[in-house]
């Protein structure tokens, strides 16, 4: 998995509540068994006009310089709805490495860490201040997200701290595979199951 340590780049404000995963990657783009190649479908129904691949000039990611965004700014409950991991793959495929929002839906939040995407939770005034500064600079101003120091730096050099779970931070910083991380505990899993087969045998009766 691609590591995440520190990025500096264009941030695209998409200041809506409840941006759902159907909007992030519409169902009609989910036609592949593979995990790659979803970048084109990112925000497909918003980015393209009617059924074609003709760009909607009003959509933020179709405007320069936002089409080179590496960060998305959003309001609350980003990634709600469907569990489709392709929402994360589509963001990554487009080049987005970090989403900064007031809150995230749980399944999307968990999926991010498995794919090198960092979800950052900031307070509403902080996200809105970042969005305001970015818009004032016509999108040209850079935002920095540093996972080592757990800090976001805005256009005026202001610093916002964020929290991230230690384990997930390590997974992103080192580019670890969470499955390998869990397989380190194989003996513990064995002994749990051995005990559980006695206390809850009906769970294993097949």
């Amino acid at each position: 998995m691609e590591k995440f340590t520190k990025i500096t780049g264009i941030a695209a404000p998409l200041m809506r509540k409840n941006i759902d995963t159907d909007a992030i990657i519409p169902g009609k783009f989910l036609s592949k068994v593979e995990k790659t190649g979803y970048g084109d479908g990112l925000f497909g129904q918003w980015r393209y006009l009617d059924g074609e691949r003709k760009e909607n000039p009003d959509f933020v990611l179709n405007r320069t310089p936002y089409r080179n965004a590496v960060i998305i700014l959003a309001d609350e409950n980003f990634g709600c709805g469907s569990s489709r991991e392709a929402a994360v793959w589509a963001l990554g495929g487009f080049g987005i490495r970090c989403v900064i929002a007031q809150s995230f839906a749980d399944i999307f939040f968990n999926n991010c860490f498995k794919n090198g995407l960092l979800p950052v939770i900031l307070k509403d005034i902080e996200v809105y201040e970042l969005a305001r500064q970015v818009e004032e600079s016509d999108g040209k101003g850079m935002v920095t997200v540093d996972l080592e120091s757990c800090q976001v730096t805005g256009l005026k050099g202001q610093i916002y701290h964020f929290d991230v779970n230690k384990l997930y931070r390590e997974i992103l910083l080192e580019g670890l595979d969470p499955i390998d991380a869990a397989l380190k505990y194989e003996l513990e899993i064995d002994s749990f199951q051995e005990k559980d087969r006695k206390t809850h045998p009906w769970v294993y009766q097949y």
Binding site: N18, G27, I107, N110, L167, P178, E186, I189, W202, V203
Partner: protein, 472 residues
């Protein structure tokens, strides 16, 4: 005495393998149930990484998402690439000797419908599926998580998940349900009340007299929509109704094992005085049949109410969201919901396609015909549900009314996925499903959510209709 615990605490603690610190745990997963979308992707990932499947006996596979629901179906599906998912899932499950309820298997159906129906999901167990509506399964007292396909691989390889423990929330449903008010109405009312983000970060226990009297089907409907207010999951404590439901289900414990299991299941309830981080009390006497006007499940009003005016929104962002929703839906603020004409109806999905749902809809449809020009589709929640409905003559009532009577699957709940069909742009579709997002049921399609009874009543009149106004 130990400190009082919530139902979720009890299930959670009995599945902890490792405390990983910072409220994060390595949790044992008892049941891994997958469909062809997440399942095919995850099994390919497992094979690509050369990993082994740790507990194949705890896995159940079923075709539900992309498969066609037309009678006489095969591997073909209108969704581009859909056949690939079906065939790869079949090949991969076969290669790993995993159980699969394939297209023609009598046990096939929507995973969240068949798992309780077959006794695969059991009270007190941890349960995962690569679908956000996995929270449905909480209705029988399991701790059920919707996960992405990489986490599905994680469960295949380790039979565990790395999870942060959610906060505890309780929704108490007091009073009783009025005339033609169903679990779907209760949960839409709740979401309108607390908002689409009202449960974020919380595992939600539904309790109170309304829940205690509710049969399993209704509990499953309410838990199904926990994700629609962004809860991690929903759950109802198992009780006599739950135990009775599981007696003699195909994969449920039998004999001595049944006695042991039920003795344990009876301990699964929140202790008096257990701490909830958030509590919501709803007086269900106040609830009327609900219908959505906008593009979020929180955009729900009583069917005899009007489209709200964004001018009255509490803040500017909510106003913008409402304006966008009103414009997408093509409804004018202040219009009575009952004046909204509909073009199509869909009765199906993991929310509302169990036998009781079909029976209620049939009660309205009996001896009546669809309004002219209405396209109506019913896809039962499982093949077993379909057979039982047919044995009761329900299929004939639907057909005679003018409905298409389909095979079981996720069907028209989502465009581009489920079967690949969609409704047409600009059409108003009244649907028993769970999501009225923009483009959810097809590009530009205007979805309104309601109970099966409200959907059936409206199919007859051709506009959104208060089911209380339709005589027997």
């Amino acid at each position: 005495m130990n400190s009082p615990k919530t139902l979720v605490d009890k299930i959670w603690e009995s599945h902890i393998i490792m405390d990983l610190g910072q409220n994060t745990y390595l949790l044992h997963i008892d049941r891994n149930v997958q469909h062809e979308l997440a399942g095919a992707t995850a099994l390919n990932g497992i094979d690509a990484a050369g990993r082994k499947i740790r507990n194949p006996e705890l896995f159940f596979g079923v075709m539900d998402h992309v498969l066609d629901t037309h009678p006489g179906r095969s591997d073909g599906t209108p969704i581009p690439g859909g056949t690939n998912f079906i065939q790869q899932f079949r090949q991969r499950t076969r290669a790993h000797s995993l159980r699969l309820f394939d297209i023609d298997d009598p046990r096939q159906g929507i995973s969240h419908v068949i798992a309780p129906e077959l006794g695969i999901a059991l009270p007190g167990c941890t349960y995962v599926c690569g679908d956000s509506h996995t929270c449905t399964i909480g209705g029988i007292g399991a701790f059920a998580l919707g996960i992405g396909s990489t986490d599905v691989e994680h469960v295949f390889a380790t039979q565990t998940l790395i999870q942060a423990k959610a906060k505890n929330m309780r929704v108490i449903l007091n009073g009783k349900l009025g005339d033609e008010v169903y679990p779907k109405d209760v949960v839409l009312y709740l979401i309108a009340d607390i908002g689409a983000g009202g449960g974020i970060g919380h595992a939600v226990e539904f309790a109170g007299p309304v829940i205690n009297r509710l049969p399993i089907d209704g509990r499953l409907t309410i838990c199904n929509m926990a994700v629609e207010f962004s809860a991690r999951t929903g759950i109802v404590a198992p009780d006599d109704i739950t135990l009775e439901y599981f007696r003699s289900r195909l994969f449920a414990p039998k004999g001595e094992m049944w006695e042991k299991a039920t003795e344990y299941w009876r301990t699964l309830h929140s202790d008096p005085g257990a701490h909830f981080d958030k509590e919501v009390v709803i007086n269900c006497d106040d609830i009327k049949p609900q219908v959505t006007w906008g593009t979020s499940p929180e955009h729900s009003v009583a069917v005899d109410d009007r489209v709200p005016d964004p001018v009255n929104a509490p803040d500017s962002l909510t106003r913008q969201t409402m304006e966008r929703a009103v414009s997408y839906m093509g409804v004018r603020p202040g219009t009575p919901m009952e004046q909204v004409k509909i073009d199509a109806v869909f009765i199906g999905s993991c929310t509302n396609a169990r036998l009781s749902d079909l029976r209620e809809a049939a009660r309205i449809l009996k001896g009546r015909r669809l309004a002219p020009g209405i396209w109506a589709v019913c896809s039962p929640g499982s093949s077993e549900t379909k057979r039982r409905a047919e044995a009761e003559g329900i299929d004939r009532i639907f057909r005679e009314a003018g409905f298409e009577w389909r095979e079981s699957g996720c069907s028209m709940c989502m465009s581009g996925g489920a079967g690949g069909e969609g409704f047409s742009r600009g059409q108003h579709v009244l649907s028993t499903t769970n999501r009225n997002f923009e483009d959810r049921q097809g590009r530009g399609v205007r979805s309104h959510l309601a109970s099966p009874v409200t959907v059936a009543a409206s199919a007859i009149t051709g506009h959104i209709t208060d089911p209380r106004k339709i005589g027997e």
